[in-house]
């Protein structure tokens, strides 16, 4: 009970509700409409979906843009899904020990450590990705270090390939994995693990049978927070990827800015939205359930 009723309630609900309807849901509808229209040499560069003809309202709607996607961009979608899945798995692998160590650290350390996890998130992604260029490029620090150590003679190709894209994704999205994992692991009842040890379970067994299952909500939330945005990532494949690293975000950007084909870009976006719908609905359920009641 908040003591708030009737119009007071709606005065709080309505502004953000209407705002999101107009500036989040409605735009997706507009994208759907434009994805069906034909590209044109006008401003804006697409033909109107409906025109008043001699026989009343006529439509020029076409599925052509989607056919073009089927022919050309399928690889971009499968690549994006693959990179995102790989990055999610690696984030989990790298993030789990970190989250575990923070959750088991002395109490006074936990907040500063969490602060350190969040801090990179507050600084520009563009700049953090850019920092990797200086490290990975052929004349970069890593190659010079390898040569100085005598580990390689010629520069190793570390950038503008699949490796650098996945590395960039893991680097950028790691905090999104660590935070929900920490949330799950810090609520875990330590006495359960102790009980397992008392009953003779080895640490590995106790981890697999108790810690891991109890941290599943954190794993699910973290995986979704990494996987969904990583699929459509633009900055990382653009700056760290090569000409052959196709990802949906980059394809959409190029269709829009370089080819000025707005209907094609809209169709690429609609297919991406369709792919994301299922994980988004799962994400909503996971987040609703993870909410402390």
């Amino acid at each position: 009970m908040t003591g708030l009723d009737g119009w007071r309630r709606w005065a709080l609900i309505a502004p953000p509700f209407v705002w999101l309807l107009v500036f989040f849901l409605l735009p997706l509808g507009v994208v759907a409409g434009i994805s069906l229209s034909q590209s044109a040499d006008t401003i804006p560069p697409y033909a109107p979906l409906f025109v008043r003809g001699p026989n009343g309202l006529e439509t020029s709607a076409t599925l052509e843009n989607y056919q073009v996607i089927c022919q050309g961009c399928l690889r971009a979608y499968s690549n994006s899904l693959f990179y995102a899945a790989l990055a999610t798995a690696l984030c989990l692998l790298v993030g789990y020990p970190i989250a575990f160590a923070i959750a088991r650290a002395p109490r006074v350390w936990r907040n500063p450590l969490l602060f350190l996890v969040i801090l990179p998130f507050w600084t520009s992604l563009l700049i953090r990705v850019y920092a990797w260029i200086a490290i990975l490029q052929p004349t970069g620090l890593l190659n010079r270090a390898l040569r100085a150590l005598g580990l390689s003679d010629a520069p190793i190709l570390l950038i503008y390939n699949d490796f650098s894209v996945v590395l960039g994704l893991v680097y950028a999205y790691l905090p999104f994995m660590i935070l929900p994992l920490y949330g799950s692991l810090s609520q875990l009842d330590e006495s359960l693990v102790e009980a397992a040890a008392d009953l003779g379970a080895r640490p590995a067994r106790a981890f697999l049978d108790i810690v891991l299952p109890l941290s599943l909500p954190g794993i699910a939330a973290g995986a979704l927070l990494v996987f969904i945005p990583a699929i459509g990532e633009f900055v990382i494949p653009d700056l760290l990827g090569g000409p052959r690293t196709l990802m949906v975000g980059k394809v959409l950007w190029q269709e829009f800015f370089d080819n000025v084909d707005w209907p094609a870009a809209a169709a690429v976006a609609m297919v991406l939205v369709a792919i994301l719908t299922a994980p988004l609905l799962v994400a909503q359920r996971v987040i609703e359930r993870a909410r402390p009641s």
């Binding site: 009970m1 908040t2 708030l4 007071r8 609900i13 502004p15 953000p16 509700f17 999101l20 500036f23 409605l26 735009p27 997706l28 994208v31 434009i34 020990p97 970190i98 160590a101 923070i102 088991r104 650290a105 450590l113 350190l116 990179p120 507050w122 600084t123 520009s124 563009l126 700049i127 850019y130 920092a131 990797w132 260029i133 200086a134 490029q137 004349t139 970069g140 620090l141 790691l174 640490p203 969904i228 945005p229 699929i231 459509g232 700056l239 949906v248 959409l252 800015f257 707005w262 870009a265 809209a266 976006a269 991406l272 994301l276 988004l280 994400a283 909503q284 609703e288 909410r291 402390p292």
Partner: protein, 272 residues
Amino acid sequence: MNKRLTVFRAVSLVLGFGFLYLPIALLVAYSFNRSRLVAVWGGWSLRWYAALSTDDAFRAAALTSLEIGVMAASLALVLGTCAGFSIARFARFRGRLVFSFMLMAPLVVPEVILGLSLLLLFVASQAWLGWPASRGILTVTIAHATFGSCFVAVLVRAQLAGFDRSLEEAALDLGARPGAVLWRVTLPGISPALVSGWLLAFTLSLDDLVVASFTSGPSATTLPMAVYSSVRIGVTPEVNALATVFLALVIVLVALAFSLIARQERRRPAAG
């Protein structure tokens, strides 16, 4: 306690934070490098900071970004607080499911989709309604406020979940009007979420390249847009200096906010 396990935890912390911070540390170090070449140390120098201070393009872009950031964050704070409060406190209302979906989706939907869809909306509404007359600071602000408000809502909602309701009930019992309770009990009680929400929306706005590139027009270039176009040409030490300045700014702001919040949390038990 298992000793091997303790060592394992320490090692994973060191490696993990090394991975997160090494690139940033190198960036800062090389902003003081005299040499134009990356990875060649030419001695300490402030020449890139000097170059930065006379770069009009970057300065104009920074001012544009600050302007958009402050407006978008403030708008996001109002919208997000209303939204977070509604979701946390009103268990049932018409459209709650749609509402909570719209609040969650922008957090994870790829930026290219947010940017493209908003731009197409602006173009369509310009054709039908004549508004917005041109794209620039206003349209970018609207776009940034949209996703910013979702982040604010998450923080407000989380803080309200741990908020002691008995304070509000006591105020109501003592005859305070519901509006006054909201204004004088609830909002001060969740002020840490409000402060960090505003800051988060502000830094997200400062950081955003993709959505701004779509929704901006020729009249407004934000800082990330300026940085992006110079990074595409190649690695320039001037960007290192710019990044360092921004990093320092963000760290000071965030540290200030967190210490304010910590001080308030410490004061509260004493006051109550």
